[in-house]
């Protein structure tokens, strides 16, 4: 009994909590609980409001811009003057799913009416196979409307992205290609794949369409004159590394979307690795000047005509070369033995470090992935001797252009680039070789073009103050050298205040019996190529190119 009474008392203690009254709901909840819930909701709303205000007050520039990759989108590519190099247009492909066809005969009649020229026996066969097939690619807007008005469920339109290349072959190696799924597979299309898929602005390149065209035109012309396997021309700003033109011939029309397997179509400008010969002598002399071991007028006496190093013999190209030469004369006359003597004075470490500094020995970081890797080698006494005059050492034409740019621009480091960055030339200039080197080297490069004993007289175009160095090298084959040659000329102009470097390389040129040379340093002309050397091949090509592009460079880029 007692227990029952106690339990009743307990119930009475909780009477205030849930009190049943004669209200409509008969339910009364204590005020504290409501206040608590209200408080929680208020706090949540305050937190959210603060968050909203915070997000609203954020400045635009502080926002991280995520790369949003859009499907079926790819930004256009333009040159430095805003001309289209690549333009994306959307196109529609029409496919047919035979399983969904209700009346095959009727569909065929309708299709025949819209596309009368198609082979309908083939299409009929495909329809009977019951497998989805592409009926028409890149359909026009009118035909699209006509075919869709048929209202057949079996007709499946598919929106696709098409890249148009209004300049056809002109930038094939630079631009590269994309696959059917809108992924870049070579060139800029590959290395800037994500940016092109996400950017709303066109990608601006440093190249100039007009100059690229004129250079390519000359390369094509001389390709047939000297019957070379391939040719390269690079025109670069020596002060900021902007590439104004980069042509590698043979090239291909990007609009044809061909699969290229022939190795002759590689981008020789950045991917081709060559032994370039005497163009390296400039680097040997610059390294000697940098180390303070030689001066321009330092004399080398009693130079031999031949040197033996192991099994190999090093000789002069021209045996009429004097035995006593100054450093300047060694470079002008392209003396092999003199260069070896300078190399020996320098020793391995100094020459190696100089070549490393100007970016010759290692693979270059470039805006496209098609980049060649200079062949590594073991340095030794004989290697030092051959490297001094540009043999037994390989690099790419692009790296050669970079090296010459640094040596002639006052010693400032540059990064060759294809992407326009609006660089401030006065900032971020890092000097990597001594200031005075260019002042000593540049006048010698000019003399190579102007002096009678120089090897590049055919490039002495009036008004452009061209300086440069030639290089004739035999091509390497397994275990030795072949008779085929690689003829190179590096031109720097105007040499008193260098602005441009141009590399012209001819891969396996041959002499021409019919070509008429107009002398530049003297009156008269000469029929036929007397020697298969750079002086008679690539120098002539470079001269003709500069003659054509010079007025544009001089007037268009006068303010730049």
């Amino acid at each position: 009994m007692m227990n029952k009474k106690n339990s009743k008392l307990i119930l009475e203690e909780y009477e205030n909590k849930f009190l049943y009254e004669k209200s409509k709901t008969n339910l009364n909840i204590e005020f504290n609980r409501i206040a608590f819930i209200f408080f929680v909701f208020t706090m949540i709303s305050i937190i959210f409001s603060i968050q909203l205000f915070h997000l609203g007050s954020l400045k635009k520039e502080n926002e991280a811009k995520p790369l949003i990759v859009k499907k079926n989108y790819r930004a256009d590519v333009i040159d430095r003057n805003g001309n289209y190099l690549v333009k994306s247009v959307s196109s529609i492909d029409i496919g047919i799913s035979p399983i969904d066809v209700i009346d095959k005969k009727r569909l065929l009649i309708n299709l025949k009416w819209i596309f009368p020229k198609k082979n309908y026996t083939e299409i009929k066969k495909k329809l009977n196979k019951n497998k989805f097939f592409k009926f028409e690619k890149n359909i026009s807007q009118i035909n699209y409307e006509k075919i869709m008005s048929l209202g057949d469920k079996a007709i499946r339109p598919e929106e696709k992205l098409t890249r148009l290349y209004p300049q056809k072959n002109l930038f094939s190696h630079i631009i590269g290609q994309i696959d059917d799924d809108n992924n870049g597979i070579s060139g800029i299309e590959k290395s800037f794949d994500k940016e092109l898929k996400s950017s709303t602005e066109p990608l601006s390149l440093t190249v100039d369409t007009d100059i690229q065209f004129l250079i390519r035109e000359e390369l094509v012309r001389f390709h047939s004159i000297f019957r070379s396997k391939g040719s390269v021309a690079i025109l670069m700003n020596v002060n900021n590394g902007e590439i104004i033109s980069m042509v590698s011939y043979p090239d291909f029309d990007l609009n044809k979307r061909e699969t290229l397997e022939d190795l002759n179509f590689i981008n020789r400008a950045s991917k081709g690795v060559y032994e370039l010969g005497s163009v390296f002598k400039t680097f040997t002399i610059a390294a000697g000047l940098e180390a303070g071991l030689i001066e321009v007028d330092t004399e080398f006496l009693n130079l031999e005509k031949k040197l033996k190093c192991g099994k190999n013999t090093i000789g002069e190209y021209n045996n009429e070369i004097p035995s006593n030469l100054t450093v300047e004369q060694i470079l002008i006359r392209s003396g092999n033995i003199g260069s070896v003597r300078i190399g020996q004075k320098l020793e391995i470490d100094k020459l190696k470090s100089f070549l490393n500094k100007i970016g010759i020995l290692k693979k270059i970081n470039f805006d496209i992935e098609e980049v060649g890797k200079p062949i590594p080698f073991r340095w030794g006494k004989c290697k030092l001797a051959t490297v001094s005059f540009g043999h037994g050492i390989t690099t790419t034409p692009l790296q050669l252009a970079k090296g010459y740019a640094i040596v002639t621009n006052g010693g400032f480091d540059i990064i060759p680039s294809l992407i326009k960055k609006n660089l401030d030339l006065t900032q971020n200039k890092k000097r990597i070789i001594k200031e005075g080197i260019s002042k000593k080297i540049n006048p010698i490069l000019r003399k190579i073009v102007t002096k009678k004993e120089g090897t590049a007289g055919l490039a002495n175009i009036e008004g452009y103050e061209i300086g440069g160095k030639t290089g004739t090298a035999q091509k390497t084959i397994t275990g030795g050298y072949s008779r085929a040659k690689v003829n190179t000329f590096v031109a720097v102009f105007p040499i008193s205040k260098p602005k441009y470097v141009m590399v012209v390389l001819l891969d396996e040129p041959k002499t021409s019996g019919d070509y008429i040379y107009e002398y530049r340093n003297q009156k008269g002309s000469y029929k036929g190529t007397p020697y298969n050397t750079a002086g008679w091949t690539s120098v002539e090509v470079a001269g003709k190119i500069i003659e054509k592009i010079g007025p544009i460079l001089a007037t268009k880029y006068i303010e730049n």
């Binding site: 289209y84 333009k87 369409t209 004129l214 000019r446 008004g463 452009y464 340093n521 003659e547 007025p551």
Partner: protein, 102 residues
């Protein structure tokens, strides 16, 4: 007091609806303008593409050989002159000064 509170709420609702309405109108206008810009942009880029193709160096060379073979000649930089104004006097000088470094 009750009436004032109700009036305030009513005014607020009215103002909100008016603001929202005008915002919607502006949004519509922005949308229409954006759409017209988008259309014009497409048209502009197509025209530019056509212009780029028709004025490409390849085409120009073709036109030259077709129509102006004798009229268009290569420029000799030594013949280019520079016009400059010094103290209100116009001076004509050579674009490139001849350097005797031969």
């Amino acid at each position: 007091m009750k009436k004032v509170a109700l009036l305030i709420i009513f005014v607020l609702i009215l103002v909100t609806s008016l603001v929202k309405n005008s915002t919607k109108e502006i949004e519509d206008k922005i949308f229409v303008l954006n759409e017209s810009i988008r259309f014009l942009k497409v048209e502009f880029s197509d025209t530019m593409l056509e212009y780029n193709f028709l004025s490409s160096p390849d085409k120009l060379v073709q036109y030259q050989s077709q129509y102006f073979e004798k009229d268009l000649i290569k420029i000799d930089i030594m013949k280019i002159k520079k016009i400059s104004e010094v103290n209100k006097i116009i001076e004509i000088s050579d674009f490139v000064k001849k350097i005797n470094d031969e």
